[in-house]
């Protein structure tokens, strides 16, 4: 009996000390996926999803909190330009890049840096295994080259000084191939060269491949997308590739759908964000599907720009800069509405209908004042009567005096917003001689006259209305949803325009491209630029015309800050908002964002950007 038990015990022991490899049913190992016939499709599509998905991050489960790559990239690009303004600190870490007060550990940066390299890792693994033997595999291989390029491009534009500041400046970590033994920063030049090389490979393979989205679906990367991106990259690279850029754009535009040149009505433009993937305007967009990709309606890019009453989703924290509003409003209809369909389509009123009290015909002066240590501006509104609490008494409104100036009280002190003509347009500045006034910044402080002042009784926006935009709204009826456009025809025209303006001797062609875009926007012929009139309108060069047009056409698409700096221009941030009142030159060291500490600390000797 004992012996039997013993024998049984031994045999059971032998039985149990066996296989302990288990796998979860919803994942695969890399060895397992290789057995899958369409593994290359699965892993390439995985890269697309990395742009939009919320991955588990530092103990956060991921999924629904708005922590996703393209949102952060957008945030880090757009808020550093001069199109959006904010009214106060936000829990969302866009405040730091917006204010050019970068710190190294904000979630938007650490997460997106990581995902960029995850995209690159996935692309590297795919490039390693995909054999280009047919249309599909050629296409997939090309897409992976494209992804490796665009992720590196995002990183080098955010974390390095502009190319025009020098090829030898530190760029970012360049990961070409599966050798991950070294972690060091390549130079800016090396990065751009690698990006150009990858995009050329992408074009080469995808021209042999077949667009996976078909005719009416711009959800997938195509050879055109690679060309369009390359044309943009060329613009960043000083004047070395301007002709390449022009050639590439010519080639693209020749094959462009006819509709991309037609006039866009307000309705067409307003409908564009609701179905970007199916619009002929789109070259490539990141397809967000509803509802699966809209699990956190308050955490999308659109949620930063908009919020409606029906759905309290969204924050509406990024507003139109008054300057941009004025730019669009230069051509008005008789009824005071703008003639620019782009503005009419995307400019919107905050939703608080029953909290807003309209004060028809009443006006208010809005202007930046000092806050904190003195370099900060916050928006204040002037009042007409002395009020000890600095509150705007908007119900009364302001009226211009005989000179067209506006007198108002602020901090019990009377100031005047003086009417001034600039570049043929009316601007207002707070009355001169402000040196030493603790309230205002030295130099000219712009003021904006808000007409038909609406007072807001709600808590959200403070005391006067700030305006939202709907460029990121409306897909599937969702106020905060769109499929982000990554590349579109409008940009290709303007890329060519910029290259033409910069290359010299092609100003007429450049203005023609600009006018092409302005015509699409429904502007009348008198609003078109000619060689003869652009100087009258206050522009010193055709390039400035192109840049203003890019600012309007591509507003809120994350391009503006790069447009300015790659052309060695300064960014004037002396406008109302919650940021330092300053002008940032193209070689300001703060332009290169601080790299996440996670990266710095993990590698000995890894070079951080010096922002001072």
């Amino acid at each position: 009996m004992n012996k039997k038990i013993f024998a049984l015990g031994i045999s059971l022991l032998a039985l149990v000390s066996c296989e302990m490899d288990f796998y979860p049913s919803d994942s695969m190992t890399s060895a397992q996926i290789k057995d899958n016939p369409n593994s290359a499709v699965l892993t390439t599509d995985g890269i697309y999803s990395l742009f939009k998905d919320n991955l588990p991050y530092k103990g956060e489960s991921g999924g629904r909190d708005g922590n996703y790559y393209i949102r952060h990239i957008h945030q880090l690009s757009e808020t550093r330009g001069d199109n959006v303004t904010i009214s106060g600190n936000s829990e969302d870490p866009f405040t730091q890049p917006y204010q050019y007060k970068d710190v190294s550990d904000t979630k938007n940066k650490t997460y997106s840096w990581w995902i960029a390299y995850k995209i690159i890792y996935a692309a590297n693994s795919n490039i390693d295994v995909i054999e280009p033997k047919d249309a599909l595999t050629n296409q997939l291989l090309g897409e992976n080259y494209f992804f490796r390029a665009i992720a590196h491009f995002h990183m080098v534009t955010l974390y390095a000084m502009p190319y025009v500041c020098g090829r030898d400046n530190p760029g970012v970590v360049l990961r070409i191939g599966m050798d991950y033994s070294k972690t060091e920063r390549a130079t800016v030049g090396e990065c751009y060269d690698a990006i150009v090389a990858d995009l050329k490979e992408a074009i080469k393979y995808m021209e042999k491949g077949k667009n996976r989205g078909g005719a009416n679906d711009a959800s997938y990367v195509t050879a055109n997308a690679a060309k369009a991106l390359l044309s943009r990259v060329y613009l960043f690279m000083g004047d070395e590739h301007l002709q390449d850029c022009i050639d590439l754009c010519d080639e693209l535009i020749k094959a462009a759908p006819a509709t991309v040149k037609s006039v866009y009505s307000v309705e067409t433009l307003a409908a564009y964000p609701t179905a970007t993937w199916s619009s002929p305007e789109t070259i490539w967009c990141l397809r967000f599907t509803y509802p699966s990709d809209h699990q956190a309606p308050s955490a999308t890019i659109g949620a930063m720009y908009n919020v409606t009453e029906e759905s309290t989703n969204g924050w509406g924290e990024w507003y139109w800069n008054d300057e941009l509003i004025e730019l669009f409003n230069r051509y008005k209809n008789d009824d005071g509405t703008t003639k620019d369909n782009r503005f009419a389509a995307y400019f919107t009123y905050p939703w608080f209908p029953d909290t807003v009290v309209k004060n028809e015909g009443k006006k208010m002066v809005c202007f930046p004042v000092k806050e904190g240590k003195g370099d900060f501006c916050v928006t204040r509104a002037g009042t007409v009567g002395p009020d000890p609490k600095n509150e705007a008494d908007m119900a009364t409104g302001l009226l211009p005096n005989a000179d067209g100036n506006y007198e108002f009280y602020y901090n019990k002190t009377k100031y005047t917003a003086v009417k001034t003509e600039v570049n043929g347009f009316t601007r207002y500045f707070i009355n001169a001689n402000l040196t030493g006034d603790p309230t205002f910044f030295d130099g000219k402080t712009p003021a904006y006259i808000r007409e038909d002042v609406d007072e807001v009784a709600g808590w959200r926006n403070g005391d006067y209305v700030r305006y939202y935009n709907t460029k990121w709204s409306g897909q599937d009826g969702q106020v905060t949803m769109t499929s982000p456009v990554m590349l579109r025809w409008g940009e290709v025209f303007l890329n060519r325009a910029e290259a033409l303006a910069r290359i010299g001797g092609k100003d007429t062609e450049a203005l023609e491209d600009v006018n092409q875009i302005r015509r699409r926007a429904g502007l009348p012929e008198e609003a078109m630029f000619k060689m003869t009139n652009y100087k009258e309108r206050g522009y010193e060069s055709v390039l400035d015309v192109v840049l203003d047009e890019r600012r309007m056409e591509l507003c809120f698409e994350g391009q503006r800050v790069f447009d300015v700096f790659r052309n060695k221009k300064a960014l004037d941030r002396r406008y109302v908002g919650y940021h330092p009142f300053e002008v940032i030159n193209y070689d300001d060291p703060r332009i290169a964002l601080l790299i996440s500490n996670d990266e710095i600390l993990a590698t000995d000797g890894f070079e951080q950007n010096n922002q001072k």
Binding site: D21, P24, I33, D45, S49, G59
Partner: protein, 1272 residues
Amino acid sequence: MLVLGVALALSTQLSANELTANELTAYSQAVKAAVEAGEKPAPQVRITFPYGVGKLEESFANNAAGMRSLKAMVRDHKNDMILVMAYASPEGNAASNLVLTNKRAHSVKDYLVAQGFPVEQIVVRTAGEDWDGLKDMIGNKEFTGKAEVLRILSDDSLSSAQKKARVQEVAGGKAWDWLVGNVMADLRSVQVYTFTKEDLQKFLNGTLVQQQPAEQTAQPAAKATEPEKTQPVTPVVEETVPETVAEPEPVKKPETVVQPETTKQPETTQQPAAPVVVKGQKHQVTGRVVEAETGEPVIAAGVLLSTGTGTTTDFDGYYTIMATDTDVLTFSSVGYQEVTETVGLRSVIDVALPTDSMLLEEVVVLGYTTQKKAELSSAVVTVAADKLTDVTTPDVGNMLQGKVAGVMVMNSSGQPGEGAAIRIRGTGSITAGAGPLYVVDGVAGGAFNPNDVETLTVLKDASATALYGAAAAGGVIVITTKSAKSDEAQVNFKASVGIKRALMGHFKAMDAKELYEFNELFRSESWLSKVSNIPSKEDIDAGMYNFDWIGNTFKTGIVRNYYVSTSGKAGKISYYASIDHYNEQGSLINSGYRRTAARVNLTAPITERLTMNLRMNYSKSYTNSARWKTRESAYVMLPFDNPFTLDKDGNQVSDDPVLINSVTRPDNKKRWYSKNTYNYFHNELYNYARGHDEGLTGDLQLVWNVTDWLTLTSTNRYDSSGSYSEEYLDPRTSEVEDDKGSISKSEGEWNGWGTTNIAKFYKTFGVHDVSAIVGWEYGEGYTRFWGVSGGEMPAGQRSLSNCSPASILIDSDRDYNTRTWALLSQAQYSYLGKYILTASLRYDESYKFGPLNRGGYFPGASAAWVISNEPFMSGNRWFSFLKLRAGYGKTGNDSIEAFKYQDILALNAYYNNAVSAVVKQQANYNLGWEEAYMTSLGVDATIKNNWNVTLDIYHTINDKLLLERDMPPSSGFFSVMDNVGKVRNMGLELAIDGTILKKGNFTWDGGFNLGMNQNRVLELPEHNDMPLGDKVKQMVIEGRDIYSWYMPKWAGVDVNTGRPLWEHLEYDDEGNVIETTLVDTYGDATYQVVGSASPWFTGGVNTSLRWKSLTLSATGSFVVGNRIFNATRMNIMDTDGAQPGFNMQSLDNGLGWIRWIDGDPFGTNYKATHPEAMNGGNSDAHNYSSRYLEDGSFFRLRNVTLSYDLPTKLLSKAHIGAARVYVSADNLYTLTRFSGMDPEVSLEMSTYSLPGLYSDNYPVPMSVVLGIDVKF
């Protein structure tokens, strides 16, 4: 004495040979003659024993013959009495000699019984050390110092210990050595006599009394000392002198069956003459204290006067004390029940103490093994069921709070059914699980219901937990469920009903008036009067617009608990069965929990040596969870809003909540003031989050006693559990996005089986007790969970099939298998119950690790030294028990997510509605066990026979921590799970309990425990600090506590400006602070470590006062020195005007909060704690800083219970065994400086929370419960 000597000589001769029948008869006659002569007869048969051995060994010396003589004795003396007297040689330790002689006597008795002799005709007496025998034996021997030895042995004034000490000194120890070498062996004997009944009585009354005072049974300790204590001590029948020989007077009280007693007053004692006793004057009282069952002297028993002064008994149980006739003497000793005697006119008071079987033989269940409490060699604490279940909760963790030193329990939520977090000896792991392992009925894991718990044992020390290897790094809690205690059928019914209400602590939200006044501080009059979000001052002053959101959200809840159990024996089968129903309605609206659990435990002997235990537990519980949005909103809604239907004038006209989805109310078209434009009372009409769990556990255990030294146990368990949860948002409510409605459902399932097979060996080799176990465990499990959500359904529909197809989302769907196996072994060696050594080794395999590192070896070792058993401790008056323990052990932790070692592509991603594969995780095939090494030292002592003191110190290193090691993110991976980092915990634990006062029917007991722990992070990967949390941060830093808060340090309010101040630090190159300045700009403040969420110490106190049938008991627990981050204040409720759409926390909370006000109208600005109020907040004063870090220390009166035991007489008429009614109150009082509702905050790290983070918590309730406990 002369006759004795002859008889002894005869017996020595006789014992060598088998007695013939004739010789026996002749011998009986000789005995009779000796008895007649009033002398001790020579023994009839003599059995000898090896040194230190208590067991009858046939092969030793002449025992074979002796045993044949015993057989003959049984055959020929069927109608006579047999007296078994056991002796030990005097060379050993007196206390262990007593134990030994007892064993020897019983081994012979057992032999006689086995031969068929009636047990009731055997009288056993143990005499301990046989000095007289020694004296007689050396009469004709020659050795150095003989004369001196004889002189000492003849001196009757010397105690046994004194004799020994003196003899050992003779001739420099040579005499003693000779004795040991030559004669003592013969003294290790049991002498067996036969008597007629009459002779035996005479013998016991006469000769023996004179010769062997040890045999004197005692004076009437007649009164049952604690009649209410239902702990009947069954008389040890075989040791009781049959009634016929008992002294007839005075007549015994029939009720007092509790203890054997002889009522005889000894005619003579060693006292020369009784002193004259005068009433009221002190006189000398002497006597002897013996154990009631065996008559053995009780050494060092306490003899206390009612005044509190007293003495202890000597080595032979004698005492002398001065007392007056009215004094009451209390006799007590560890392991015995107390006996009290009024002195009266007596000068001699002998006492027999009944043993307290609970204490003496208290066996502690350690999971795989059991051990006598006295012989434990590691830090183990047992909590008895009745001590556990004072608090009304379905969670055993909650019950443990404050009851065990070094066990920190934080019960962070008032959500009914929510369990508490438990940390034993600090937190060693940073990200892997740190909670304890439950071992239920001998198998790791398993389910149980608190009312079914017989004992709960906490193993704190790695020398004990190492046997459990895997997942035992956080300590082990061993649960033993109830079984039949006796053969008699017993039914137990318990019922309790009570009410509960959430604790609010210092927290108070502003009412309308205070909020209006607060707004006046930073709002212009014109704003307040015209554009404001605030009703008019007149209306507020008139008492309108003042709704108490919190008061209406946290309401009185009801808790009910019913339990019925039955136990006993039916045929051969012992059974215990119970059903328990717990139902708690939470203090927060729409939260609740109910659970029904049933258990059956059966024990059936299959064969003589094979026993089967069958245990089944089933439970099902339903939970209604408090919804986060409701809980959070209760804090922040403005008092100006009323959620119920109002008329035009703002008067409430019904209790129907109104739907709010804009700033205009639908009922009277007036403003909705709060920033949150929804009304959660309306949402609560339709929306819910609820779920249910069920679990079935079945154990089949076979115990096979193969031989008397080997037992095989096979425990096989099947375990199946499932959980389901569902959250529903109705389209009619305003909570849901776009009012489309949503429902999400998730379901999980776990089932598995396991087998634990253990062989236990135990054998005694002389004085060496050896036991060992070897075992193996094997188990397989299957886990599955999935979740689906949908929306856009018609109102009220909860079926996913009624949702819009486009809205259906699969949130998760995953299953996987698991397997575990382990080998385990343990050996224990005990020498005379004095030196105990334990060693164990376990081998575990975990599928969670890479193929090469799955195995983990977990050794443990401990030693204990029972100092109080040493000779040099005899006679000391302080320690009746003293034990020193030391232990070392290694345990492992694999409490991480599965599959962390593999490279994983997640397939739950998609693009453009097509499935895609995303690289999720890089492989780390080297991943292995997290290890904890614990060294500990402990002392267990009983001081002055009353105070049980346990003191422990420990030192634990957690090494190879399972951490997500950071990778350069430019590799594409943020981190990879790896074995890196090291944490140390050091601590001290102290537990004291005892009786503070006892007087007559009044007893006051008390206990106190304390655990101090110091935590230090010793090593991190690349020495990099590791941040935890996003906005609210803790920083894991080498050399710091694991839960170190990291934030700008708040420096109060600038008296002059009312602006906030923070610390700014300047560092030198080596990181030392060289300058500290105060700054009033948030951006200039320096992030630094500001305190820790770990407490300095935690502990508890408990006390009980008993007077007759009334008992008042109380338990308290405390936590000192931890810091809590109050995120509720930072986010909204204490933000100086930054969040004007939300309500604020009242500053009038008794904590001295004062706001700085421009112009200083009250002259209080100099002590302002809060900066000036400003619209939008004052210069980031409400930003993340230690302004919101608070002292988390508290003392909480955890429970107070007043109970009454109904009189037995009354109950017996109704055939009720016992009944108790009680009223019990939980969390009656909390002493704290914390400004939130409840300073008990979570210790768990989760996605949304850090240990010590307080945010809109659901506070635990105070409750009052009425209950009854009846036994039939």
